[in-house]
């Protein structure tokens, strides 16, 4: 932190914390009503998890084709200011319609407004590290554009892995790379806050018997999502263990959901449907492949969901009602699933050449700790508590603080967008009360 400079003060009507699809929806609705919105995002790009998905269920529309126009509308809106790489540090409620928020912007080492996204820095950078935006399937440079449809689509320097060789700035045609950049603190004064901090995916390392992290051909569903996306890491779906074209893929549903032993007893609401979606996409990508889904119950409750499930069965996806106990690896990288066949009441074993763990939804902890003088209450599963869920679903325990999307619990994309809409409507109603 540069101690010489006093921190800057900024004023907006609303602070939206989190630039995923729910926060983005709230920001855009509020901005269209004429409110000045500051959208802070901790990551290098807005768009949240949705921008990294392949297609959406049950329509099989391209996720990027829905997200990118929305994201660019947010980015270009005159009433929205976006701060990426920025954390919310402290929120103090000074009175009704008066919040003071400390935010911290980490240095990107690139001046966003000057970068043209030419990628010459990427080419020049000699460093190769694991690409977190491809969920570890491939490498990326230390000078890099996070992903091709990122917003802003500009470079960033991963300072933790940078050797400070200076190759990137020597080739930069606009001199936008600047290693003298430092952290910047801001004091933001706003009248209302929307919390849209999203969710975390369950980390399957917590279930060692499934072998994730040890057996390379055991993937998470997000890794498979990347393999199926147009901006995929490989030329087609391949086993990360040896590059083999898989022809017998298993899905293990409820990995880290409905499982008290890992501390998450609730249903994640999306895993059944995204697995069925991926199974259908895989049948298109690998026409010769067999796909088996091991499930406890299929929860196809939404509009068009059951038809989507039946469609997968008609396409030849095999559904086995069974609880997978253990996964072991053969020398050739194939995997043996030991499972309880619930319908037959027996323990069985089956061999697959790739296993996808359909990981669940966990709360993104931390945001409740930044509130100084008021308590942002959480529900028993550590999602943000909706204090009046049926009448005002976006209301939280703090008047003037609203919740949008999966910050309040597991939900799918249409529900997240609806929730973002609800949060913007309730925020507007709160702001209007000020002038009455």
């Amino acid at each position: 932190m540069n101690m010489q400079e006093p921190r800057k003060t900024l004023e907006y009507d609303v602070l939206v914390i989190g630039g995923g699809i729910a926060g983005g929806e709230s920001a855009i609705n509020l901005a269209n009503l004429g409110y000045k919105v500051l959208l802070v995002e901790k990551d290098l790009s807005i768009g949240g998890k949705m921008i990294l998905l392949s297609k959406v269920f049950p329509t099989l529309d391209c996720a990027a084709c829905i997200t990118t126009p929305k994201v660019s509308e947010i980015a270009r809106h005159p009433n929205i200011t976006i701060f990426t790489g920025t954390e919310t540090r402290k929120i103090t409620k000074k009175g009704e319609h008066r919040f003071e928020v400390d935010i911290l912007q980490k240095p990107r080492y690139v001046h966003i407004e000057d970068c043209t996204g030419c990628q010459l820095c990427e080419e020049a950078c000699p460093v190769s590290v694991t690409d977190e935006y491809q969920y570890g399937l491939v490498g990326r440079k230390a000078a890099f554009i996070p992903f091709s449809i990122a917003s802003p689509r500009v470079a960033a320097i991963d300072i933790e892995n940078c050797t400070l060789c200076g190759a990137c700035e020597r080739v930069c045609p606009t001199n936008c790379i600047d290693f003298t950049m430092t952290e910047e603190e801001f004091l933001v004064k706003v009248k209302a806050i929307v919390v849209a901090t999203g969710f975390n995916l369950f980390d399957p390392l917590k279930i060692p018997r499934y072998g994730y992290g040890k057996f390379r051909n055991v993937l998470t569903s997000m890794q498979m999502e990347r393999q199926l996306a147009p901006t995929r890491p490989f030329n087609t779906v391949l086993r990360p263990g040896d590059g083999k074209l898989p022809d017998n893929i298993a899905y293990v549903l409820c990995t880290g959901s409905r499982d008290k032993s890992v501390g998450n007893p609730i249903c994640s609401q999306i895993c059944c449907m995204y697995s069925i979606k991926q199974a259908q996409l895989l049948m298109g990508a690998l026409p010769m492949a067999d796909i088996t889904i091991y499930y406890l119950h299929i929860r196809a409750f939404g509009k068009g969901f059951n038809e989507f499930y039946v469609q997968a069965q008609d396409m030849g996806v095999e559904f086995v009602k069974g609880k997978v106990g253990k996964i072991t690896e053969k020398e050739n990288g194939n995997l043996i699933l030991r499972y309880e066949d619930v319908e037959a009441g027996t323990v069985q074993e089956a061999e697959h050449d790739m296993v996808v763990l359909s990981v669940g939804v966990l709360p993104n902890l931390g945001i409740s700790d930044v509130f100084e003088n008021e308590k942002l209450e959480l529900d028993p599963f550590n999602f943000i508590n909706q204090s009046d869920m049926l009448a005002s679903p976006a209301k939280t325990s703090i008047e003037g603080v609203f919740v949008a999307g999966t910050a309040s619990g597991p939900m799918d994309i249409p529900d997240s967008i609806l929730s973002g809409g609800a949060a913007s409507a309730e925020t507007t109603s709160y702001l209007r009360r000020e002038s009455l």
Partner: protein
């Protein structure tokens, strides 16, 4: 402080020590990159073939080779006779001559 644009890395270098593992990682990547590109110079190969030839785990070859594909050094070729593995070859854009 007068900052010289395009040469700012040196300012941070004075304050920020490069962790040892970062330089070691760079050395490792440069070495495996050279090994993989050299091995492909002779003929197109699959990942198991490269792994056997170089004595590296197949998953390591997969990760590094896919990174080289992304960085534009390598491209995907034909499938093998068993329809299991792709062959990979040097990209013919001059980059691989380095």
């Amino acid at each position: 402080m007068e900052v010289e644009k395009g040469k700012t890395a040196k300012y941070l270098k004075e304050k920020h020590e490069i962790p040892k593992q970062v330089t070691e990682h760079l050395k490792y990547f440069t070495k495996t990159k050279k090994m993989l590109l050299n091995a492909l110079r002779e003929e197109d190969k699959t990942i198991p073939q490269l792994a056997e030839e170089l004595g590296l785990p197949a998953q390591e070859v997969m990760f590094q080779l896919m990174s080289l594909l992304k960085y534009g050094f390598v491209e995907t070729g034909e499938m093998d006779d068993m329809d299991e593995y792709f062959y990979y070859k040097l990209k013919s854009n001059g980059k691989n001559k380095s």
